[in-house]
């Protein structure tokens, strides 16, 4: 077995009493005070996440924009400097390579934040498919630590510690400034649905910033948060997670991410297949479901129609700490996608009633 990688915050997690587990090749904190408590802390106060396992890929050159528009489904030409967007990268057959955030540093420099489990794959894929463009692509993952500060109290905690005006930093914008004595890229992005920021730091500064935020935010109720609550928080928002709602065999159209597939921008990898999927519709699609009967839907559980026939399966499911019921995302036969449709989830051989609902499941204030 290969050894697990550790983020610059590993010692802080150990000292903080986190439960550490292997995740995507990293030894990561899955929980601190308990998933439920951490989840609700982020919803009502603020939480601090170590997301240093995420990958960072830099693309530079005069043709960076054109290249990215070929590699990605969203339209990068819509970005101004210091603005970011969410996108998917597809294979020719419409399957997903990864989902990621693109930060436009300048006309000739973009930072891509990709999933930890996909860094090597993405890096190879981007290099291989950018040969016709005058760009330089580098894997910068070892040069970044990343901390997410999320929750309604985030700005109140961070503002006294930074020279960036957080009130004017709106959704999907970012800027460079200081946190205490450290340089940081501060982005108005996140994976919880709450107001918050993601901080891109030099690895050597991560411990300092982590402790600074925990110390200064203590009075406002900030707590460190593990990957367990990160997953329940994103699931309440119906945000996809690669390997679950998106994969080599699941296209962004099937995953209800048509809004990041810009067919009008011109040809890109996968555009022919994706256009066909948009025009003809797909056989299956992603739904959000809420349990009517007791039970917690889990990944892989079959979804049944009213006659007990299998129509799909759960891609991610959990008990929702905010709503106190079982919720799930599921890939089902498109005929059953309408909000309000009654379906069942097969839980350990028994069928339990559920209903297709509008997502997000939870609406932050």
């Amino acid at each position: 077995m290969s050894t697990l990688k550790r983020t610059p915050l590993f010692e802080a997690h150990k000292e903080g009493g986190a439960r550490l587990v292997p995740f995507a090749g990293w030894e990561m904190p899955v929980s601190y005070s308990g998933v439920m408590d951490e989840h609700l802390t982020v919803r009502k106060s603020a939480g601090l996440f170590d997301v240093s396992h995420m990958g960072e890929i830099l693309i530079r050159g005069e043709e960076a924009e054109r290249c990215l528009n070929f590699l990605l489904t969203n339209d990068v030409s819509r970005l101004t400097d210091k603005k970011a967007l969410y996108t998917v990268s597809c294979y020719k057959d419409g399957g997903s390579v990864d989902d990621l955030i693109v930060y436009k540093v300048s006309k000739s420099e973009y930072l891509l934040c990709v999933n930890a489990s996909n860094v090597e794959k993405d890096f190879e894929w981007f290099k291989e498919n950018s040969r016709n463009f005058n760009v330089a692509i580098t894997n910068e993952s070892d040069n970044f630590a990343q901390i997410a500060l999320q929750g309604p109290k985030s700005d109140e905690i961070l503002q006294p510690l930074t020279n960036i005006d957080l009130a004017s930093l709106t959704s999907f914008y970012f800027n460079y400034g200081k946190i205490g004595s450290c340089e940081a890229m501060i982005a108005r992005t996140g994976y919880t649905g709450e107001r918050g920021v993601e901080l891109y730091l030099a690895p050597k500064d991560a411990i300092y910033v982590w402790h600074l935020l925990l110390e200064k935010g203590g009075a406002l109720g900030i707590k460190p948060i593990g990957l367990g609550a990160r997953d329940t928080l994103r699931l309440e928002m119906a945000y996809p997670l690669y390997g679950h709602e998106l994969s080599k065999t699941i296209s962004p159209i099937e995953a209800n991410l048509g809004w990041v597939v810009k067919l009008k921008k011109g040809s890109f990898i996968g555009s022919d297949t994706l256009r066909e999927q948009v025009e003809k519709g797909t056989k299956r699609g992603l739904i959000g479901l809420e349990m009517i009967e007791k039970g917690i839907p889990r990944e892989g559980y079959p979804i049944l129609d009213s006659n007990g026939k299998k129509i799909g399966a759960v891609t991610s499911g959990t008990f929702s700490p905010s709503l106190n019921i079982g919720i799930a995302l599921a890939l089902v036969d498109s005929r059953f996608k309408d909000v309000g449709t009654e379906i069942s989830v097969e839980i350990r051989g028994k069928s339990a009633k559920a209903r297709v609902v509008q997502t997000p499941f939870y609406k932050p204030n």
């Binding site: 998933v35 439920m36 367990g228 329940t232 039970g295 008990f319 350990r348």
Partner: protein, 136 residues
């Protein structure tokens, strides 16, 4: 980390406990089990009257993130289930050896209790599990 392990109980390798109460046995999960699972949010228990053999699964306990089967420490017939924990599963976290009990069984063959671990043996068993978990 150390966990509460009452002296008067018997324990399974799957971390259930059994307490002899005359002709009956009360069953629950250990402090270690509830701590490892985290916040318990759902519990499924058998029907009254169900006949269980030793090591049979008799239900399921779920935390926010995990699903775990429950194994019967002994053979017997279910005479009572804890209705309070099905409504408020967090009781299992708060008081695993008391209010968080799960089922009550008739005591059939009391020699089966000797297939289980006593408190000292269970403590050693937890120590070994912890050691294995930290070894590379």
């Amino acid at each position: 980390m150390s966990y509460e392990i009452p002296d008067d109980l018997f324990y399974t390798k799957e971390h259930e406990w059994a307490r002899r109460e005359g002709d009956f046995v009360v069953v629950g999960i250990s402090a270690y089990a509830q701590e490892s699972l985290g916040d318990i949010v759902f519990i499924e228990l058998p029907k009254i009257g169900e006949e269980l053999s030793q090591n049979d699964t008799f239900g399921v306990v779920e935390s926010v993130k995990a699903v775990s089967d429950l194994f019967s420490p002994i053979s017997g017939k279910v005479v009572e289930t804890n209705g309070t924990v099905t409504e408020t599963p967090e009781l299992i976290n708060q008081d695993p050896y008391g209010e968080g009990w799960l089922i009550k069984l008739t005591m059939g063959d009391d020699s089966e209790l000797h297939n289980l671990m006593n408190a000292t043996e269970y403590e050693e068993y937890l120590g070994q599990e912890a050691k294995e978990a930290t070894e590379p």
